[in-house]
């Protein structure tokens, strides 16, 4: 098998020179409400969102109809569902912080108890108890950014160094693995393995454009976003749900067969996680699905592929932060997530239409870097985040497992 040959995929949705009313859109979207008022309007973010929404809506997604500010309101829809407060040096979601090291800044997300368990190994400190932040903040102040980040990466902690990927401005990389004729999105079978926000958003957009979306979860490790039903339902109302026991041989066999039958696979795992389940994405894409879309924090390749990251810390790695009195601030809520989700959906639309079999690498940090373009003064009253006009629907775990497997002829 030939080695990967990743090429930047020029985003066909970019419209250089087009005028975007970024100030008013940002104010109406909920994005401004979610951001420190002193930061201003992140013009590159608004431009990217407008370009993506317009491109996707041309292909039937209808985002401008369901979301505020002509679709830019997608950026604040999780915050609306979860009732999140504005971000600052702490994320809107509350799990991440911007912290000062000896020689720069890092963003760290601590999302689960098992993250707290590894803090002694990360920073050479005693066990911290349930609120690790005072200890972490004190320890980081004397450490170097590179050391802190590299050790976090080894331990599977989400930690991005501010601006480490700022120059990496290709949001999407593609590796063409074979030939396939052009296809419209309508009728494509999309299997989504990704959880949380970016991957499910991409899948939902494709469902709105006429694709059949099958969301696959582990029976023992379902999507954590199920804990926030309003948000989960908004993104999954048009999917079928398959649940498989991925810890067993039988479950993995069925997953492999399901992936073979897909036209498009969307996943958000580190490459080794799928390899350890016996899934070889490159081998599959040469004979099964025409598009394999990986949405990761820092990309699939090399050591970056081992890193964990979320929408806020990955945005910081891409340099996408606001500045107040020389200190960085998070922008809105997990800003790299909605940007990456829409980017992934647009990549599918683009590559299905142009043909070919592709591995597609969408990295949150690169997407964020590509959307960094300075700030303009705020315009107008900041509207609070608003939910979609279409609330979605409940999707009980595994509701469609037997029906989907029978329909696709998988025993």
């Amino acid at each position: 098998m030939r080695p990967a040959d990743w090429q930047p995929l020029g985003p066909v949705w970019a419209r250089a020179g087009a005028t975007v009313e970024s100030g008013s859109l940002w104010a109406r979207s909920g994005g401004q409400w979610l951001t420190d008022p002193a930061v201003g309007v992140p013009v590159g973010v608004v431009r990217s969102l407008v370009e993506l929404v317009e491109f996707l809506d041309l292909h039937g997604a209808g985002l401008a109809d369901i979301s505020s500010a002509s679709g830019v309101g997608v950026v604040a829809e999780r915050a609306a569902c979860l009732g999140l407060p504005p971000a600052g040096a702490v994320t809107a979601g509350g799990a991440g912080r911007l912290l000062r090291c000896r020689d720069g800044w890092v963003a760290v997300s601590i999302t689960r108890e098992s993250d707290i368990d590894v803090i002694p190994a990360w920073l050479d400190v005693p066990p911290t108890g349930p609120d690790p932040w005072p200890v972490v903040e004190r320890a980081l102040a004397t450490r170097a950014v590179a050391e802190v980040r590299d050790r976090a990466a080894l331990l599977g902690l989400a930690c991005g160094a501010l601006g480490e990927r700022s120059d990496d401005r290709s949001p999407v990389l593609g590796d063409r693995r074979g030939e396939a004729g052009p296809r419209p999105v309508a009728g494509l079978v999309v299997v989504n393995l990704a959880s949380l926000w970016a991957g499910p958003l991409a899948a939902d957009v494709l469902a709105r454009s006429g694709a059949r979306v099958i969301t696959v979860e582990s029976t023992t490790r379902p999507d954590g976003a199920r804990a926030t039903p309003e948000f989960f339902e908004a993104l999954h109302g048009r999917c079928e749900s398959v649940a498989l026991p991925l810890g067993t041989e039988e479950g993995r066999r069925r997953l492999a067969r399901l992936l073979e039958r897909a036209d498009v696979v969307i996943e958000g795992s580190r490459p080794r996680a799928l390899e350890q389940m016996g899934i070889d994405a490159v081998e599959l894409v040469e004979r099964g699905p025409r598009l394999w879309v990986s949405i990761t924090a820092h990309g699939r390749a090399g050591d970056s592929g081992m890193r964990v990251g979320f929408g806020d810390d990955a945005a910081v790695a891409g340099g996408l932060v606001g500045w107040v009195d020389g200190e960085p601030r998070f922008l809105a809520d997990a800003i790299a997530d909605p940007l990456a989700g829409l980017t992934a959906a647009a990549s599918v639309v683009q590559l299905a239409a142009s043909g070919g079999r592709w591995m597609v690498d969408v990295a949150l940090a690169r997407v964020a870097a590509a959307a960094s373009a300075g700030f303009a003064p705020p315009e107008g009253e900041a509207a609070p985040p608003s939910r979609r006009r279409d609330p979605g629907a409940p999707l009980p775990l595994g509701r469609d497992t037997e029906a989907v497997l029978a329909d696709l002829g998988i025993p």
Binding site: R78, L82, T91, G93, A95, G96, S109, T111, R112, S114, D117, V118, P120, A121, W122, D124, L154, L155, G156, A158, S195, L196, R221, P222, D223, G224, A225, A227, T228, R270, R272, A273, Q276, M306, F310, G311, D312, D313, A334, D337
Partner: protein
């Protein structure tokens, strides 16, 4: 040979590629091996010769956490290799995968 581990201590196999990082450690020194052979504490001290001892193969897997029955020791595999980790000659088990986060 016994060694005192503490959170953050890194262990490099003397006979394979395996690298481990200590997440949790007992208060007292323990006899830990990788591939049946004492590991080294510095990647630069690897002897570059030697073989995995019979019964200590089966390998280590990247990202897996290896634990003892008492729950006092937890070692995270940061690089996979052919040798398996053990304490007092008994192979360590692996911990279940972490639950997925609910949000960020």
């Amino acid at each position: 040979m016994t060694m005192q581990l503490k959170p953050g201590t890194r262990l490099y196999s003397a006979v394979c590629e395996t690298e481990l990082m200590t997440i949790r450690a007992p208060a007292d020194p323990i006899a830990v091996t990788i591939g049946g052979v004492d590991p080294v504490l510095d990647a630069g001290e690897r002897p570059g010769a030697g073989e995995v001892v019979e019964g200590h193969g089966g390998g280590s897997a990247m990202g897996k956490r290896y634990v003892d029955d008492a729950g006092t020791l937890e070692l995270l595999c940061t690089k996979a290799g052919e040798g398996a980790p053990a304490v007092d000659g008994v192979l360590l088990g692996t911990k279940d995968a972490k639950a997925l986060p609910a949000s960020d």
